[in-house]
Symmetry: C2
Subunit: 387 residues, 2 copies
C-alpha cells in the first residue's frame, strides 16, 4: 500500500483572534499549508474539514464549501464533526481516499472560533459533545466529567494532584518555544495547586484554554510526491478510529479509554508497528488527567502507570518518550476543530527536524491521538519517516 505523504503544513497562531472569522482563520492555515507544500493549488481534489461548534459560535453550518472557497479552491468539501476529534476524523477519511487511489492531492484541515462568544457560552457549546439528555441537563460540564475520571483514576490506581500538575508544568515548558502556542508561560507545580479549583480535583491549570485557531495539511499520494519532487519525507502509515458510549454512566470504567485503545490497535496494525515502536506522541490532553488516560490506552504504559510519567521526567522532550512537545492542548491551546490536524502538523515538523526541540527528540515513528467528548470518539494516526 502506498502511504499518503504530508507534503505541507499550516497553522494560525493559537489564541484569541477577536477580529478574525472562522473563514479568515482557515484561509490563513490552508494557504500556509499549500505554500509549504509546493503543490499547485489546481491539483487539489477535495477538502476534508473538521469543525465542532460553528453552529453555536458563528451561526454557520455547511462549512465545507465555505472553507474551500476561503482558500480559493473549487473542489468538493466535506465537514466532519466528532466533537474535539473532528479533524482527526477528517484526516482518517482523507488518508483512506489518497491511499486507495481516489485522489492524489487533498487538503485536510480544521478551524474553530470560540473566544468571540465568551467563556460561559463556549463552555455551553462544548457541552454538546456530551449527552445532552442525560448529562448536560443534570448540570454536567466537561471539567466536571474529567474530574470524575480523575477521581475514579485516583481511587482505582492511586495518584495525586501533584502528579497531574507535573503534566501541566511539562506541557507549559514545551510550549515556551512554540511560537504558535497560546500559553507561553512557565508555571510550577505550586502554581497549578494554588490555582482556583474548577471541578475538584482539577484546577484551572489542569485545563486547556478556550482558543481560536486553524490548521491544515496537504496530503499527496506517494507517486505524486515523487513525480513532483516534493520535499515530503513523512507519511501517514496507519489510521484507526474507536467509539464508545457517549455518556459516562454507560461506561464500564471511568478511568480507562477503550475508544482510544480500539483506535490505537487498528492504527498500529495498519502501520505494522507495535506500541514499543512509538518514539514520540501528541495526545489529547484537554485536561491533565486526559494525557494519563491516553498514554495508557495507547499502550505506552500499563494501566495505573502513566500518572507518574511527567513527574519522573519521562514524557519531557528530553525524556525517553516525549509527549506533547508542541505544548499539547493544555498550553498550545485547543481550537477544537483544528486540534487533530494541528497534532499532525507538529509531529510532521518534528520528524522533519524543523520543530522546537527537534534536536532533543530521537526517532522516526510518531503517534497523534485525538479524542472527542469524554473519549466517545478517538482517532489515532501513525506518522513515519518514509523517505
Amino acid at each position: 500500500m502506498s502511504h499518503p505523504r504530508v507534503a505541507g503544513v499550516g497553522l494560525t497562531h493559537f489564541g484569541e483572534h477577536p477580529e478574525r472569522t472562522g473563514r479568515d482563520l482557515f484561509a490563513d492555515a490552508g494557504l500556509a499549508a499549500l505554500d509549504d507544500s509546493g503543490v499547485d493549488p489546481d491539483d487539489v481534489e477535495s477538502l476534508f474539514y473538521g469543525n465542532f461548534m460553528g453552529e453555536l459560535a458563528e451561526h454557520q453550518g455547511h462549512q465545507g464549501p465555505l472553507m474551500a472557497e476561503a482558500v480559493g479552491l473549487d473542489v468538493p468539501a466535506t465537514r466532519f464533526e466528532a466533537a474535539c476529534a473532528s479533524s482527526g476524523a477528517a484526516i482518517r477519511e482523507a488518508v483512506k481516499t489518497v491511499r486507495n487511489g481516489e485522489a492524489d492531492v487533498v487538503l485536510v484541515g480544521g478551524a474553530e472560533r470560540m473566544t468571540n462568544i465568551g467563556t460561559p457560552a463556549a463552555t455551553d457549546a462544548l457541552s454538546i459533545a456530551a449527552d445532552d439528555l442525560y448529562e448536560i441537563r443534570s448540570g454536567m460540564t466537561f471539567p466536571g466529567a474529567y474530574a470524575l475520571m480523575a477521581r475514579s483514576y485516583f481511587r482505582e490506581y492511586g495518584g495525586s494532584r501533584e502528579d497531574l500538575a507535573a503534566i501541566a508544568v511539562k506541557n507549559h515548558e514545551h510550549a515556551l518555544e512554540n511560537e504558535y502556542a497560546q500559553l507561553r508561560t512557565e508555571i510550577t507545580v505550586e502554581d497549578v495547586l494554588d490555582a482556583p479549583t474548577i471541578a475538584a480535583p482539577l484546577g484551572l491549570y489542569d485545563s486547556c484554554p478556550i482558543t481560536d485557531g486553524a490548521s491544515a495539511l496537504v496530503l499527496t499520494s506517494e507517486d505524486y510526491a515523487e513525480n513532483h519532487g516534493l520535499d515530503a519525507s513523512v507519511g501517514i502509515t496507519g489510521t484507526g478510529q474507536g467509539g464508545d458510549n457517549l455518556a459516562l454512566h454507560d461506561r464500564e470504567y471511568l478511568a480507562r479509554s477503550p475508544a482510544t485503545a480500539e483506535a490505537a490497535e487498528e492504527a498500529y496494525d495498519d502501520a505494522g508497528i507495535g506500541p514499543d515502536d512509538v518514539d514520540v506522541l501528541e495526545v489529547h490532553d484537554c485536561f491533565t488527567i486526559a494525557e494519563v488516560l491516553a498514554l495508557e490506552a495507547l499502550g505506552m504504559y500499563e494501566y495505573g502507570e502513566a500518572i507518574a510519567a511527567a513527574r519522573n521526567g519521562e514524557t519531557y522532550c528530553t525524556g525517553k518518550l516525549p509527549v506533547n512537545v508542541s505544548g499539547g492542548l493544555k498550553a498550545k491551546g485547543h481550537p477544537v476543530g483544528a486540534t487533530g490536524v494541528a497534532q499532525v502538523v507538529a509531529l510532521t515538523e518534528l520528524l522533519e527536524g524543523r520543530f522546537p526541540h527537534a534536536d532533543e527528540v530521537d526517532g522516526e515513528t510518531a503517534v497523534a491521538h485525538n479524542a472527542g467528548g469524554t473519549v466517545a470518539s478517538a482517532t489515532v494516526h501513525v506518522l513515519e519517516v518514509v523517505a
Copy 2:
C-alpha cells in the same frame, strides 16, 4: 471493483414526532434496516451518519457515537454535515470504505428533529446552510434564495408558476401511496397557485415541509452478501460529489447547479454509465424549482427544458423518466440529515419491486441526488440491479 450492496433499508415515518428524540428516531430506522438486511448486528463495523442541525434543535453535537449506541452498536461512528446533503456525504464515504475493502458491513444513516423547535426557529436553523456573514445577516432565508433562483430561471429560460406547480402536484400524487410520507394529500395546480406566497414566485406549496425523521441503510461488500446468502440485488455502482461557493452572489449563474453537474459527471464515470442510461431518479426538490435545476444539471434535460417535464407528464411514475416516486422532499418530507439516505432507501425498494408504483416503473438504473444549501454541496449516487 466490487460494488457495495444495499442489504437492508429502514425509515421512520416522516412527519411530526413530538415525543421522539433524535436518538429515538434513529434507533427506529437503524434497527429496521438491520432487521431488513438479515445481517448479524455484530458484523457491523462502523456507522456513517448524517445530521445537520442537532446543535440548534436538540443542543446535541457529537451524534456519531450517540447514534451507534442508540442502535446497540459498539463501533466507530462519524457524523457528516453538509447541510441538507449530510447523509449523502455519509453514503459517499461508506461506499468508498466498503468497496476499498476496509469494511465488509457498515450502517449508514441520518436523522433530524426539527418540529420540536417550531417553524421560525427551524427556519433560522436551516439558514446556517447559507453564508451567515453575507446572506443571512442581510435577511436571506432559504425560500428567498430559491425564489431568486426561480426568478433567474424564468428570466433566462422562461417558465411559469404553473410549470412549478405541476411539480408539486406530481410529487403529492406520488406520495399518496407512500405510507412513510408526511403530506399524503392530493393537490391541484390551482391549490398551489392560490396558496400564500412565501417568497415570490414561490408559494407555500412550492416548498417542502419541516419534518422529523430518520433513515438507514446496511451496506455490505459483494462477497459478504454472497457468502451470507443475503437478499441484496441492488448495488451502489457510482458515487460523485461536487462543490460550489456557499453564497449565491459568488455564483456565475443562479439558474444552474454546477455542483450537481460535477457530482453527476463523477458518479456516471464511476458507474460506467451516461445520463441516457438512467431510468428513475430521486432528486433534491426542497422547492419545486430545485427539481428543475437538478434534472438539468444531472443531464436528464438540456438547460431550460426541465421546467415543462412535470406539466407534460414525463416525470410521473407513469412517464418516460419517473422522478421522486417517493413524493420527494416536497411531499414525503425533508428531515434534513435523513434525506440523502431516504432517497437511496426509496430507490432500492423501487428497483427491488417492493415500493409503491414499482410495477409502473421500468428499469434497472437509478440515481439519487442530494443537495446542500443552495447546492453548494451535492452528492450523486448510482444504483443498479447487479444480481
